[in-house]
């Protein structure tokens, strides 16, 4: 297992290569084979004699990841890997993480508050609140939950359900007055169609869930439990 906890553990007075040599010795690697490949993997193969203290934040983070890969782990923990990075740095880290996962088959656990960034790379999510996991969900399930939806407040819920079943419309019954309909619809046409079938809607709300909203709703739900 490899890990970066808070900030990368690198000696500022040493070059990228020397930092890796240090780490190789620290973890007891039998030889220094693979250092050049590791530097190339994280995009630091051309840093030469430049000292780590003169690296950009993104470069330091990449070096930290390289250091954590010294013992060829199968599992990597990254704690807030993109904190303080500029947009380019964030992209570099994102691409590196994807590369490590796809090419090196490394499982990566990322702890981050940047939900939008996570949504671009994560395959499974665990949401924490005050140190407790309140929800675990796959990315497929999460995408579904964040799908565009229309919330309907209705009176004769059973008839609506029958109509949706008949017309193969994706829906979810929330309570005895609320039904969520998933998918993008032309609202006026949709309401028109429903009213032709004597299906009266009292209220209608269109929603597009973001990961942020999902998380806030989750936390709010957890607090109210």
């Amino acid at each position: 297992m490899g890990a970066i906890i808070e900030t990368p553990s690198i000696y500022g007075e040493m070059t990228a290569r020397d930092n890796l040599i240090e780490q190789y010795k620290l973890v007891g690697m039998p030889n220094l084979d693979g250092i050049d490949e590791l530097l190339k993997l994280v995009g630091l193969e051309n840093t030469g004699k430049k000292k780590a203290k003169n690296f950009s934040l993104g470069m330091k983070q990449r070096l930290g990841i390289a250091v954590s890969l010294a013992n060829h782990p199968e599992f990597l923990i990254l704690d807030e890997p993109i904190n303080g990075l500029d947009p380019q740095g964030i992209i570099e880290i994102r691409e590196l993480i994807l590369k490590l996962n796809r090419e090196k088959r490394i499982t990566i656990l990322i702890s981050s508050h940047y939900l939008d960034e996570l949504s671009k790379i994560a395959t499974h999510y665990g949401f924490l609140d005050h140190g407790t996991i309140i929800k675990e969900i796959s990315s497929e399930e999460l995408v579904k939950k964040m799908e565009h939806k229309v919330e309907l407040k209705v009176r004769n819920q059973k008839e609506f359900v029958l109509y949706f079943e008949k017309n193969k419309i994706s829906y979810e019954v929330i309570d005895n007055r609320t039904i969520n309909v998933y998918g993008k619809y032309n609202l006026s046409r949709f309401i028109n169609e429903l009213s032709k079938k004597n299906l009266i809607v009292d209220e209608i709300h269109e929603q597009e869930e973001s990961l942020e909203n999902y998380y806030m709703n989750l936390i709010g739900g957890a607090k109210n439990d």
Partner: protein, 277 residues
């Protein structure tokens, strides 16, 4: 532990502070030789090479304070300690490996100084005049005191997470030890009588010096206390050895080993409990 030592010595070789220390040791030796040679040529003084060999001991404490705080200070600031622990190295081993590295580096600095003094000084000033066994005993005392110093500054560096504060505390502590040692030395070297007046006989021209008991002359108890404190104080040991005036020279290494045990023991206990954020 071997891995930690290996890593530490690898870092040492590439460390700018270590190379500055090395250059300083060589230049200091050459500077001392040069000044003594100038005095010899100008005033016809007899220079003892063995004395030159002992002179670095009076200031090595300050040098070690600076080196240790800068070298070990980055362990916290660069996250190295956190990295070592997360890999699986025990805190005890991390502490002891750092102590060993700083002790060996400091001894290396002094040995380098000796090599320069001996290789340049003997051809210029002549051979060593005191018995080799006595000189060796003095040098062994210096080496053991250096190890005691290492334990003190390693303690400070491993307990304080902030590199700047570590440097300030270490240097102040080193100076504090020196100042206390000088104070006690001063007390011990106070003369029993002081000259208060001199009377010249107008007829004969004879001069009579009037002496009175020195009010600052310490009592026997005070002398014993000061001497003991001086012997325990690493700076005090160095001053006595450099001046070749240590009445209890055989006990000095025991005091140094005591300092080593106390500071290392306390350091290990505190470091194990330390919150590493």
């Amino acid at each position: 532990m071997i891995k930690l030592l290996n890593v530490g010595f690898t870092r040492l070789r590439k460390n700018r502070v270590f190379w500055l220390l090395t250059i300083f040791s060589v230049l200091l030796a050459l500077f001392m030789i040069y000044t003594q040679y100038s005095d010899m040529k100008r005033y016809g003084e007899v220079i003892e090479v063995e004395q030159l060999m002992l002179n670095y001991s009076t200031m090595i404490g300050i040098v070690m304070a600076i080196f240790t705080s800068l070298f070990l200070g980055v362990e916290y600031s660069d996250g190295a300690i956190r990295n070592k622990i997360s890999i699986g190295h025990k805190r005890t081993n991390i502490y002891l490996s750092n102590l060993i590295i700083t002790a060996i580096t400091s001894l290396f600095s002094y040995i380098l100084f000796l090599i320069v003094i001996v290789s340049v000084g003997i051809p210029l000033f002549g051979v060593i005049t005191i018995p080799i066994s006595k000189l060796l005993m003095l040098i062994v005392c210096i080496f053991i005191t250096i190890i005691a110093y290492s334990s003190i500054f390693t303690f400070i560096a491993m307990i304080i997470s902030n590199k700047t504060i570590t440097a300030i505390v270490s240097i102040m502590f080193a100076f504090g030890l020196m100042i206390m040692a000088l104070i006690w030395l001063n007390i011990l070297q106070a003369p029993k009588f002081i000259e208060t007046a001199s009377i010249t006989n107008g007829d004969t021209g004879a001069v009579e010096i009037v002496k009175e008991p020195n009010p600052k002359y310490p009592s026997e108890t005070k002398k014993k206390v000061c001497q003991t404190l001086l012997d325990i104080n690493p700076a005090g040991q160095m001053f006595q050895v450099a001046g070749r005036s240590a009445p209890n020279i055989k006990i000095l290494p025991l005091y140094s080993l005591g300092i080593l045990v106390i500071f290392t023991g306390a350091g290990l206990v505190l470091f194990k409990k330390k919150e590493l954020k």
